[in-house]
Symmetry: C2
Subunit: 532 residues, 2 copies
């Protein structure tokens, strides 16, 4: 890596994050600090911060005290002893603030061309109609048997789609994603290479699916042995690409129980456990009631869906279980006991009519939960959209038959609305929760000293001033010309009128913000996206 | 009105709309035509179209046959006999198409500063905490008693908010809106004036709320007589502003049953009926179960919530009932019998946890339904977002206890998913349905000859081409600079890869489109918004 022309990047302005590990039974809160925070160019981690440096004068004192010199200043003749810093300032006038990057704990990169295409399907027919056909185009089933491993062996379309997925998710502030790819080794490796090149933190999973009874003949692993050897190929590629795993890591990815044979599940569980630390694992669980019934039929010897994964050592503290809409009480206890993590994908669960996961109950029970877009069961690559949908779905949860059956007993006649996720909770899931789901809670998701600078700079735009009646100005400039008077500057749909508290500005961002509000994105201290 | 420098505007390209009045039991379909359609400058209505003029050659023939001359062409010396036309072309390469303007059948303009602010509240506490305080700032309770009627008597903040609401909704393609204002006459008149100035078709309702038992002392009509006289003031103002009602119409607006006394309800029903044709009416109904219980308590003499409105002659073919989440079978029959219309507000109903309206059942029963944003119970001013939320909510409907209790009887063990709204149905509600709700089904919502040109030009953007591996280009241009390679041109989040059918492009628009895709908007043939 080329050495940096400066030692630290100093970020000035407003920093907003979620409180870490709220005490049991308490909800997370938004924390806001203003001042300066600096990130070491050497390791991309937060070196320190100073919440006293709230104005230019205090900041000058900080510069002097630290012996810093601004590399962009016009002063000549820095002394060699001085520490060079790059300064990045968030504008108060434009309502800019630094916020932890979003973590997408469940996204299917090859399905991105299908984003928004699902008709009125539900999980099992959706897989057959939409998903398997698009995924099958990312290579040949026997790629790795034919000695094809290189990203450049992937079809150009696959490379192009993956490139766009990474670019799009970065532009929405996703600094870390746990990706499902396809069964194809070259394309999976291409996804890893593109994440590495663009600088997005990623877990890359080659999808395992070998059960001929459930996988289509045109798109599957050729055997259980094939599931294992192809998975190993991709792990090897990633370990060569990023030997320290500082950005890209492999993740063992049995698609879900119905697509995997017993030998494949067994091999994959052993494979993950054979590493130290054990490899990450991701799969799906209990998304849809028909799927749950199918698993019961396929694995009659196991007590539950979760028990199948547990039987094959796939239910670990580094396992991400996507969906978990319809877990039984026993399964919830088992997931908690194994410390497996849950990726909540509300946009997908609503879009495919899967149901509403009782997220608040999971959190209260001590299960770790993050958010996933689940592209393209989910239609949007945005975790902000996932946060919105998590709030919305939770507000409908109390109307569902399952929830009422479970909670409205004689002893608990009413849930009293505790199931509703607040903005703070949704943003917690999108950052701190996601960090814990990918087992990086000490590294990302917040602004503690020593954490990695995976951050987005959000810009809501200025407050709209009007010092004269729009009855005058509208008449002059608008009528007949069709020129819009909507003047959001370079920004999007968040309209501020000036009376909003800072917490209310965050709420407005969550409900009406989009990628236009994401001005810059850093991963590991490196700038990886800036709005053009 | 200044006379136009041309006789017709000729629109060329692709036109997409929903089929009109699908036969009973059948769902609407998307219709696509390419060619030319022309709108008379004299009345803003569609004069005719030619779906044969699909290329430049055929279009030239059409020009000749019609004796048209392009006002923008460089040819000198048009003869006086020739018909001058202005040509507007939708680009195929950029996936542009004309689509009927959206109709927002329920929006509270003064609540716009609260868009996104609702916490975890539900209807009745939300009104007290968020809504009444913001609405009360739009004037003084005794404005019209003090002889204040002029829009310029409204507070500057009120004018500014209203101006932004109109601009924002236009920028999202809303060509027609049915607005709730506040109790204040000057501000309500200002909303009418601003809609007129900006050229948005609008129904303007001064809100009536005189029941001291439910309205806050600081924000209410002073009496039932006051409800009536203030309403009359605004009607008079609007009839002066737009005597023919070609753009702006008044709408009688009792807020909802709990805020209105019996005398006020009676007066307002009579007032609406005293006009020929009768005035439009809008109100709320059965949004929330606590509200339904409250109405039962307040009006024990009436059989139901709907029966209260019926009792006071407020349930008419020109009545818009917002929400209708929890109607009983008897109420549904009564609404159908009176031919009253329903404004479905799914974003709001999810956000406030009100529940899910069984829209498909209403439609099957023959009730007319349109979409509303319900800003700021709804967080978004976009009807496209309302269409999305209508789809999403309908996919969760089958999980609700109420739906299961009603439909999963022995004779109908399963709903078989009929309750799910398709993209086509949601877009139908957003255009044709909304047109019928505001009693303008013959005038707006589609492209039939004689209809008014209330239209948006949608631009999805071009298909992204990649003729070389992004593994090369990403490396060159992106790494280290932070410059994004996401290149949506001037457009938003809709990514096309080239294999999508035209129907799939529409689906992608609905699920990931936003105001960036709205290139131009016309109302009554006039350009009222164009993206800067």
């Amino acid at each position: 890596m080329a050495s940096s022309p400066y030692d630290f990047t100093v970020y000035r302005g407003t920093f907003i994050q979620l409180s870490r590990n709220p005490p049991a039974g308490q909800k997370p809160v938004l924390l806001r600090n203003t001042g300066a925070l600096w990130v070491s160019a050497a390791d991309g981690r937060i070196a320190d911060f100073d919440w006293q440096a709230i104005d230019d004068n205090a900041f000058r004192q900080l510069m002097e005290k630290q012996g810093w010199v601004d590399v962009d200043s016009q002063v000549n003749g820095h002394s060699a002893q001085q520490t060079k810093v790059k300064i990045v300032t968030a504008s108060d006038d434009l309502n800019e603030f630094f916020f932890p990057g979003f973590i997408d704990t469940h996204i299917h990169a090859p399905q991105y061309p299908n984003a928004g295409l699902f008709g009125s399907s539900t999980l099992l027919d959706w897989l057959e109609t939409y998903t398997f056909p698009v995924e099958s185009g990312f290579g040949s089933q026997s790629d790795h048997k034919n000695g094809k491993f290189s990203p450049r062996d992937a079809p150009l379309l696959a490379q192009r789609v993956y490139d766009q997925v990474v670019a799009r998710t970065l532009s929405h502030g996703t600094t870390c994603a746990s990706y499902f790819a396809t069964v194809h080794v070259p394309a999976t490796n291409a996804l890893a290479a593109l994440c590495y090149t663009r600088g997005q933190r990623a877990f890359i999973g080659r999808v395992c699916m070998d059960n001929p009874d459930f996988c289509p003949t045109y798109y599957k692993d050729l055997s259980a042995a094939d599931s294992l050897s192809a998975t190993k190929s991709t792990i090897e590629y990633i370990h060569t690409l990023d030997p320290k795993g500082s950005l890209i890591k492999p993740i063992v990815t049995p698609r879900f129980v119905p697509t995997c044979s017993r030998p494949a599940l067994e091999d994959l569980g052993k494979l993950a456990a054979s590493y130290s630390p054990p490899l990450h694992i991701q799969t799906h669980i209990s998304e849809n009631k028909n799927e749950v019934a199918l698993v019961k039929e396929l694995f009659p010897e196991c007590a539950s869906y979760a028990a199948v994964y547990d039987e094959y050592k796939l239910l670990t503290p580094r396992t991400i279980l996507a969906h978990a809409v319809h877990l039984t009480q026993d399964e919830r206890a088992l997931v908690r006991q194994r410390d497996a993590k849950i990726s909540h994908c509300p946009a997908s669960n609503s879009a495919l009519g899967s149901g509403i996961a009782p997220v608040r109950a999971y959190i209260d029970e001590g299960v770790t939960v993050g958010l996933g877009t689940d592209v393209s069961g989910g239609y949007s690559p945005s975790i902000l959209e996932a946060a919105r949908q998590a709030c919305l779905a939770s507000r409908l949860l109390g109307h569902t038959a399952d929830f009422q059956a479970e909670t409205c007993t004689n002893s608990h006649p009413k849930s009293e609305g505790r199931e509703k996720l607040s903005i703070e909770e949704s943003l917690y899931l999108a950052t701190r929760g996601g960090a814990a789901v990918v087992d990086m809670a000490d590294d990302i998701g917040g602004f503690e000293q020593g954490m990695i600078w995976d951050t987005q700079l959000i810009q809501l735009g200025g407050v709209k001033e009007a010092d004269r009646s729009p009855l005058d100005s509208a008449l002059e400039s608008s009528r007949g010309t069709g020129q819009s008077l909507v003047q959001p500057g370079p920004i999007g749909n968040v309209d501020l009128f000036g009376k909003e508290t800072w917490e209310e500005r965050i709420q407005k961002w969550v409900w009406n913000g989009d990628d236009r509000d994401v001005k810059s994105v850093w991963v590991g201290g490196k700038l990886v996206h800036s709005r053009g």
